[in-house]
């Protein structure tokens, strides 16, 4: 009954997409094609959700897809989680505007995977059950640790989600002529259905399919771009210098980051932020063992690295090709729709309406899939970390936990829609920075300390984590994007754009200091349990 109602609601909204298109009156072919491909993807993904729902009844199936994915499948799904619309549209736009400087973000998006592989993948898989919080709570006191990490986890997920919801709303508005509010409700409803009914299995397969079509779509666009330059990288660079209004300046670095503190802070967020993202860490529980977890990261790293290079080259090619064609700029000389439309304008230029339709639909599918992954991780915080482990104290029954998960998914969906509508007019670029900063400063630091340092105690984790979280949030509020741009003050109190260097340091210093000075009996017990935890993290079994 619930499934029928959900599907009816989606069909109603899909028909609204068509109606909005009809009312827009322009009857342009790219919109029609994009809508057709988009509707096709949605119907196919709903079919997958229907099949997955029939196989999802236990908590293990809901949170971890029964741990039945292979390393290759999970690698693709991780890549699907990480390759968001921000990666595709945002980075190609960044390269189009800043030229060579865009390489910083291309490398940054790929550089965290070695850290995840070396430090976390197999250990998290071996120690945890459904979420990364299980790992930190392994030998520490479950209730306070889970409450703190639920707070940081939800902060990260909702900050990340707001940016995705706004991106989705704006993209649908531009591509399909659908009002922003409809677009946000459509995304919220679809992700609630995917996750609520199909759990991790549906979410994983939607990520896998989306990753494959995004990799193919990006590759096709790159081949068409390179073809314009006779497949010569030198010719592409020369063309960019010739056509760009900045001339040689497009090849000069140093416009995005100008001081070492910002460079190191941004670098730490790139290196350690992804390693603390709940929706990425949760994926390690979908494979059967630590070896498959390592294989997942290896495949994900290859797909992501390849995609970063593809998108960078697309942005570089777009400098030459779009500036040579005045039709994509308004009377002020700005790219129509903003820099984020770079890849879409390039698709239109190189492949006409057909390629524009395909790339538009792929981009929207990307947003849907990423939001579904975020929703699942937020729902698991409510149902597994808070309800099952704290409220029911690990004694609730599994059926109730799955029911709570589904209700949580609905609540998360409603919150996401509300946040999407609330922040419609806000510049939320800083939210992505903040979510990576919190992930690096709280989640990654506490995960690493709990895995590799026998001295970490509950008291140290709580004090360090809480202060690191507050520092990250506080410094972002005091920095220019909020203190000046939102609050209207003359100058920022915190002069740098990124807080991670300071917030990570605060977490480490206080977690270590408080742990070292903790003389309680519970601290001694927690330290004594480290050997067992270390053996379990390596061998999935306690010490002999």
């Amino acid at each position: 009954m619930l499934r029928s109602k959900s599907l009816l609601a989606v069909l109603f909204l899909l028909s609204a997409v068509g109606a909005a298109h009809a009312q827009s009156g322009d009857g342009s072919e790219p919109q029609f094609l994009a809508i057709s491909i988009f509707v096709g993807f949605v119907l196919f993904s709903l079919f997958i959700t229907y099949l997955a729902a029939k196989r999802t009844s236990s908590a293990q199936e809901f949170y971890a897809a029964g741990s039945g994915l292979t390393g290759f499948q999970n690698g693709l799904a991780i890549a699907g989680d990480w390759m968001s619309a921000a990666t595709f549209l945002g980075m190609s736009g960044l390269v189009f505007i800043f030229g060579v400087d865009g390489i910083v973000y291309a490398v940054g998006a790929a550089i965290s995977w070695p850290i995840i592989m070396f430090v976390l993948a197999d250990r998290v898989r071996n120690l945890g059950k459904y979420t990364y919080v299980d790992v930190i709570a392994y030998r520490l006191q479950s209730t306070p640790v889970r409450i703190l990490l639920s707070f940081s986890g939800l902060t990260i997920v909702f900050l990340y989600m707001i940016a995705q919801m706004l991106g989705a709303g704006a993209l649908i508005q531009i591509l399909f002529g659908l009002p922003y509010e409809y677009a946000v409700v459509l995304v919220g409803l679809l992700m609630t259905i995917y996750v609520g009914l199909g759990g991790m299995l549906a979410t994983s397969w939607i990520q896998i399919i989306k990753a494959v079509i995004l990799l193919f779509g990006g590759t096709l666009l790159l081949i068409l771009t390179l073809n314009q330059f006779g497949f010569s990288f030198g010719a592409m660079l020369s063309g960019a210098v010739e056509q760009s209004p900045r001339g040689e300046g497009i090849l000069n670095a140093g416009n995005l980051i100008k001081d070492p503190i910002s460079a190191i802070s941004l670098g730490l967020a790139f290196l350690f932020g992804p390693a603390g993202l709940p929706h990425i860490l949760m994926r390690f529980f979908t494979v059967p063992n630590g070896r498959a977890a390592r294989a997942s990261v290896a495949y994900a790293s290859i797909f992501i690295g390849y995609f970063q290079i593809v998108v960078f080259l697309i942005g570089l090619g777009a400098i030459s090709l779009l500036f040579a064609n005045g039709g994509f700029f308004d009377e002020d000389g700005a790219l129509i729709g903003g820099a984020n439309m770079t890849a879409l304008h390039l698709s239109n230029l190189l492949g006409g309406e057909l390629l524009l339709g395909v790339v538009s639909a792929v981009t929207f599918a990307t947003i849907l899939a990423v939001v579904a992954g975020l929703t699942l991780s937020a729902a698991s915080v409510f149902s597994h970390d808070l309800y099952a482990s704290v409220i029911a104290n690990g004694e609730g029954n599994e059926k109730t936990e799955v029911q709570i998960s589904r209700i949580s998914t609905l609540v998360v969906g409603l919150i996401a829609i509300g946040l999407g509508l609330l922040f419609e007019k806000q510049n939320v670029a800083y939210m992505a920075t903040l979510s990576l900063a919190v992930a690096a400063s709280v989640n990654f630091v506490l995960l690493s300390l709990s895995l590799f340092w026998n001295g970490l105690t509950t008291r140290g984790a709580i004090v360090g984590g809480a202060l690191g979280l507050l520092t990250a949030i506080g410094l972002v509020i005091l920095s220019k994007p909020i203190w000046v741009d939102v609050f209207g003050n003359a100058s920022p109190i915190y002069p740098y754009a990124h807080p991670t260097l300071f917030s990570m340091s605060v977490t480490i210093v206080f977690a270590v200091f408080v742990s070292v000075t903790d003389r309680s009996a519970s601290a001694a017990k927690e330290r004594s349990m480290f050997a067992d935890q270390e053996a379990a993290s390596e061998f999935a079994a306690p010490a002999e």
């Binding site: 741990s67 790929a110 190191i264 070896r291 290896a298 590799f452």
Partner: protein
């Protein structure tokens, strides 16, 4: 090799590789931020590509090594879900 030796050796390699990754990336960013004229645009792009490809290669090689190292300890039967 005992389990303790296995853990210690693996931990040393994990720390070394993580430190190298961190230092290389931070050095790359600091050069761009502090001395952007020290390298041409083409060199910066190629260095970026080398870092991306290098990270993929490092991840893959580590995965292969970790599997073999685990086999050395005959742990295949130990690791389970």
């Amino acid at each position: 090799m005992t389990r303790t030796e296995y853990i210690q050796k693996k931990r040393a390699i994990v720390f070394s590789l993580s430190a190298i990754t961190t230092l290389l990336f931070l050095a790359f960013l600091c050069v761009i931020a502090m001395a952007p004229d020290a390298a041409s645009g083409t060199l910066i792009i190629l260095t970026g590509f080398v870092l991306i490809i290098g990270s993929c290669v490092a991840v893959t090689l580590y995965g292969v090594w970790a599997n073999r190292f685990q086999q050395e300890l005959s742990l295949d039967g130990d690791e389970h879900a």
